[in-house]
Symmetry: D2
Subunit: 319 residues, 4 copies
């Protein structure tokens, strides 16, 4: 119908882009092929988008949270190391975790009788329920699930000695964001008090890339001020641009040299559903941090408090 010179290209290039400043000199641009949902909620700005290769993405206050295409690489290591160390959790508390994928992983444990998810932002949770079924896979409707819309700090004031595992899956502590004060000693003390004896606390704990691992390292130091044991691990999540860090903490020793066959047997006995990235071998690998990260953790003594909370920002590479 049109002359050849005017023919439309098969796939026009993306128009919207979201920049993630890995460092001031290294920028990761995510294409947005389609805006699926946009909300300015009471607490934050939310976008759910089609981001192409990696599927659908959730962005809060401009920060990429997760993508449906690689979310298993984030959510399996977020949930299962704590559960394996516990051995058979019955009660699990998820703080944050808007997409419902953390719930999804928790519910793989047949031992779980009750999982409570506490998120401050009802609009984000309901948008994720509607637009990200790949991620929650019905977890919100599971009879073991209770969803509570509330400030995590307020909820923690009401619950003591009740949880086998607590997973703090909050947005990064950007200024004016809703999670600003939830990466501090005071908050972690409340989490510890909410655990049953022998329970484990798991923190999503920011990037662990060479140029930007200071916050992670300080969070390890902060958790060590509260718990007898705290162990850092990380894995590269493509949509996040960095290896992402987690910290497992508790007053019982953490098994950092787990026997592979024992873990695989525990998973076979006590979980159902498929794991894509997690098993005994994966756990053994996760528990071993490279030397430069262990060295950085060892040297750090800073403790984040309400008086001096972290501010998530790009830092310079250490000399």
């Amino acid at each position: 119908m049109n002359t050849p010179m005017e023919k439309k290209k098969d796939s026009p290039p993306p128009i919207y882009w979201i920049a993630d400043y890995l460092t001031p000199s290294d920028i990761y641009y995510h294409a947005v092929h389609e805006i699926i949902a946009y909300r300015k909620t009471r607490y934050q700005e939310m976008l759910i988008v089609n981001c192409g290769t990696l599927g659908k993405g959730l962005i809060l206050d401009g920060v990429w949270q997760s993508s449906s295409g690689d979310d298993f690489i984030y959510h399996e290591p977020l949930v299962h190391p704590a559960c394996v160390n516990h051995g058979g959790p019955e009660t699990v508390l998820v703080l944050g975790g808007g997409e419902g994928a953390t719930l999804r992983e928790v519910l793989k444990w047949k031992t779980v009788k009750r999982v409570v998810m506490v998120d401050i932002d009802e609009e984000v949770v309901s948008a994720c329920r509607e637009h990200l079924p790949e991620m929650h896979q019905g977890a919100f409707d599971n009879p073991k699930t209770t969803l509570i819309i509330k400030d995590a700090v307020k909820y923690l004031e009401e619950t003591k000695g009740e949880w086998d595992v607590i997973i703090s899956d909050l947005t990064d502590p950007i200024e004016h964001g809703p999670s600003f004060k939830l990466f501090t000693k005071e908050y972690f003390e409340k989490c510890r008090a909410a655990l049953k004896p022998g329970g484990f606390f798991l923190l999503q704990a920011g990037p662990v890339s060479l140029p930007s691992m200071k916050m992670h390292v300080r969070l390890v130091s902060t958790l060590k001020a509260i718990f007898k044991y705290a162990h850092s691990y990380n894995i590269h999540v493509p949509c996040l641009g960095h290896p992402w860090g987690f910290i497992l903490a508790g007053d019982r020793p953490i098994d950092t040299l787990p026997e592979v066959s024992r873990v695989n047997k525990l998973l076979a006995d006590k979980t159902s559903g498929e794991f894509r990235m997690f098993d005994g071998t994966t756990l053994l690998g996760l528990m071993q941090n490279p030397k430069h990260i262990r060295d950085a953790i060892e040297k750090e003594t800073y403790v984040y408090t309400l008086e001096s909370p972290p501010i998530f920002s790009t830092q310079e590479i250490p000399k």
Copy 2:
């Protein structure tokens, strides 16, 4: 409160960017400092944003429409050359023109008794009314204004010989967009029939930059197939990345060598309000196209029809 190493930068760099592919090798990225409004309407996807230096921007289907900071450079040349050539328009029809800035300029003519704006997309118009007061400046509430939500083609079927000036201020003809068929001979014939004898038609007519002026040149050729006279002019609008083209058409001669003092006197007599970029000298300059654009227009014979409408896309630089 925080250690110096962690202090937040005074102005964090923009996270959202909108790409305008001037050519496949030349990309203009617009920063989005804040999303002010987002709508997926029945017809198109709309964003109103804070774009920094250039103020607020309106984006439809990913295409930048205008910015509050430089809209006068687009809207004054869109409206006044037609009105000056007419001499004292009483009835003006605006097709499209969602922001209300075209209305704003029309209403500067004290001769105008009635201006009708016909736009297909009520949601876009109402969002502009709410969020872009800098642009409409109350024009929607002027008693001379009538706003009609309707398909421009349908409206044109009901109005004959009624208008001194018709301004077609539509979105570019991207495929699946609402304006796809409104850049054709058939549409322009309807516009001509709606004019009073001696009336003028003005078309927003796409970029006129060396690598992307083919559609503009073909629109001149198409209008020349309908009207006795058609004259192309353009001006660089910063937020649009290119010089932007307009075509003034009618069955009366167009004054392409206007006497500066005569135009200034006409404006002094028949308009009120301030002009920022337009006056007699400006009009004289606008009417003179550089030689390479005149040459391209002269050679072109293609006529856009419903059978072979334009598709707005980036073209290669002519040899």
Copy 3:
């Protein structure tokens, strides 16, 4: 030979990009399809590249100078308005002008007996001679041409009352760049002294886009402090991202309302070769600045001196 899943895309996307910060929120990225030449000379860093749609580009100290695809839109208005106002220049001095395209345009005037080009950077000139034949088209080898490698200021100290037309086609005054002090009253005084009585001076004078026209406006004000007449004009050059400004100055009146047919006759009589964008109509259009630019020029009184030279940088949009 390879499986379909592994086939290489027909045209891989560009890897190198050069950013032009039109404003802090508006960035023009130029693709570099191939690096043709790279030099770190005594004075500046030079790149000659294949930039795709716009042909070959010359970049000095990171600032785009010109592209072979659209250089005529820059170089014809740089040279011919001064020559037309003079009427028949015999001696022309070009200060800067590394690509040789300014020479090329000057040599279209059959009246010219001698054109001297003074450029400080031999390495840049010789790279342009070798790699940009599209631009100089042999102008360096014309018997009327003399190329002198020298600091323009030093050359100006040796030449008095000698030139019908002087064209200052220097790089922008970025700090530490070679042209930093050549946009000042002191320099323009030397240029004036080098002109014959009745001669004209032409300055390439920076962007004239709404958010970044302050330097241009101040250059007009500075030239008015030296010459009886100074007239600003501009045209959008695609590869430069902005409309680009020129200032024509002299002690004879400048014809700002040139009669089109008279100019065309002058060109027919006194020039040879083809013009792509320039003729009488183009000149008439160029001479008419839009009102907002004239207003800004009228208000400005700042004079650049060696004590307070310009610094080329992006400025905020005026309120």
Copy 4:
């Protein structure tokens, strides 16, 4: 000296950028703060740049090779797992490895009597020697080092049963690049023949990120067709944008559950100099691939040959 409005910003934003298309929708832009060296050699295009946070970067044919700021995260795992598995290498052959950092790591083994580096591109090697002393740290001048400028395939034809460890540290197999045919069965057979009995072969083996690990997985499959054992591991290298893959292969079993203390003792006894990221714990972690990568490797049967070599390109995420 200048008015405040014109003051230069403290650190102007970077002008040159190098794009790494992690996927078609995910682009990593590296800022180039300064071009330190540029060469178009007989084999490839080379850039050495100051890339800001990550130090100095080497780029060959537009592909980022390494950065001085994080090169230890690439070069320590490239060299030491093979050497630890060998136990005390005396002769080491490095194929490629232009920066000299692979040599640097090999020379940490006190057991090494002779290390030969074979690189095809003398100009790249000499530019790295001159401009990247942070990376080679004098390794080229070590009396144990022999540098041979030659095609790796030709060199392999002359050396049989001679090496304890061979490290293939070549550029990715982009079309027309110099390494196109060095990721094939035929090449790996030559490497195997050059090893002493009990020797180990180590291949730098491309990205292992979810959307782009197909080439890596096929390289494992190809090496398994030649060697009795082949083990894949990877680590995230910030400047490379992805976790980067390595494959250790040999005819002796590879210890995938190394005892940490035994490794640390071996390193203490047989190496000198500091390790930044490598030790026994790091090695134990490296040897454990996450389940989804092991699964992908297990399913793969494709073998790269000269008839069907790999083409390095971005692939779609697997369903």
